[in-house]
Symmetry: C2
Subunit: 276 residues, 2 copies
């Protein structure tokens, strides 16, 4: 069993992050996810697409031996996607074509070609590159994009490499990675919901939030004032962890509907916000 709370580190990889062209929202999502499962993220780093820099950072993280290390970014087909080369360097494992990963990539390009998104489904060298995994790795099916995630069980740490596109990253964590996390952490389900009210008075909402919190003790509920110009509106955040993603989703959904009902009775209107 891992230490309690199990710890994690995150490496967010991509030149676009260090140019500031893209704000890294993946790290915050993984932090909420892992905290929700009862873990503790102790450190996160943003790195350029440079094999040596990534490998050095990975070696440092593996020396500290957290239960998990997540990487995001650098799994795609292009030359500057170098995360797995860095994993190979840091762990001394060769990159090898993984038959199951290759089947995943091939199936995805057949779908994309059938839908007209790509001209042909051929496994060109850049596409095959996405199936070159460090020896001992397990591919994680990507329900949204082409590059599989990669799970590499190491002596003291589970290394999880995820794509940088947020929708792909989240989908892999919540589907393909879930059974592995469940085996290791006892739970793998996490769900969240945000409501934006038209009410600016936190003291008016506090009793309702307290009541819903007591009715759903496994749901985390937090309110926060947000400024919209001179107007202040309270935003409510709900999250839940459970053994499976489906259970977590059902829990947060039930608490959210209950809260929406109580808000409506109190004359407060609330709209759901898109996922962060």
């Amino acid at each position: 069993m891992p230490a309690h709370p199990p710890t994690a580190e995150i490496l967010a990889i991509g030149n676009e992050l260090l140019l500031g062209e893209v704000v890294d929202t993946n790290t915050a999502w993984l932090c909420r996810f892992f905290t929700g499962l009862g873990g503790k993220v102790q450190r996160a780093v943003v790195l350029p697409d440079e094999v040596e820099a990534i490998a050095a950072e990975l070696q440092g993280a593996l020396r500290r031996a957290p239960a998990l290390v997540f990487t995001t970014g650098g799994l795609g087909p292009t030359e500057d996607d170098r995360t797995l080369a860095a994993v190979a360097m840091a762990t001394g494992r060769p990159l090898e074509e993984h038959p199951e990963a290759l089947r995943m990539v091939a199936a995805r390009y057949r779908e994309l070609a059938a839908a007209g998104f790509v001209a042909e489904p051929d496994l060109t060298p850049p596409r095959r590159k996405m199936a070159m995994l460090p020896r001992g790795a397990i591919p994680l099916a990507n329900p949204v994009g082409a590059a599989p995630g990669v799970l590499l069980p190491l002596e003291r740490t589970l290394l999880v490499c995820l794509p940088g596109v947020p929708e792909e990253m989240k989908a892999i964590v919540q589907s393909s990675l879930a059974p592995h996390l469940q085996a290791r952490l006892g739970r793998a389900g996490f769900a969240e919901l945000r409501l934006l009210t038209d009410c600016g008075d936190e003291s008016r909402l506090a009793p309702l939030l307290g009541e819903v919190g007591r009715a759903f003790p496994h749901v985390y509920i937090k309110s926060r004032a947000r400024a919209f110009g001179p107007q202040v509106r309270i935003q409510i955040y709900l999250s839940a962890a459970a053994p499976t993603p489906e259970e977590a989703q059902a829990l947060v959904e039930e608490a959210g509907r209950h809260l929406e009902g109580r808000l409506a009775e109190a004359g407060v209107s609330a709209e759901r916000l898109p996922a962060m």
Copy 2:
């Protein structure tokens, strides 16, 4: 003169970041800012409010000797604001009450008390704490909040400690820090502007953007498709660097107005987006 391009590292400090409750937008802004001035951010780290973790990371950064190290967060009045204690530990300099910093903090609380935002203007111990700087440091006036920024010139690196609240962080960089950066980098002014068009066809906008780019060779212009549900709209980003913040603002403003005029002639409507 610093190496070209001058390099920087960023340490974003705060438990709320590693819980995922707050998405760190400061790092991306500092990356755009420093890239805009002709520099290169080589690494960014997110750390908890723990003196030892921050001090160890600072020592690592100072060994790599980038031209600048920025920290954000942990400058406030409370016990868990520990950045300067970590700077003291990492650099072997004691924390001392800085008379000019104390005057800044006192003046701010007199203003806040006069405006009714705080009950009294007294320099309580938590408020005095914000004027305890590492020996040799220069306080940077904070035009928005209470905690001064801190500039510590070290042998090979300029260490800049900034508050975590984005508005305070940006205001200090663009006012109080500007003369110091100008002395070291030759320029300190950076400004940006975002326009969201109602047009989804990048090929239609490309000639206009090319024309404005040729008219304003010192303004960086980039377009990016953004999905709004099934609809795609092109967002245009402009940024400029100049010796001073005022010159950069004037440059990006002039290019922005020129672009807005050309878009209007082409029948494309565009709205300005709030600062990132």
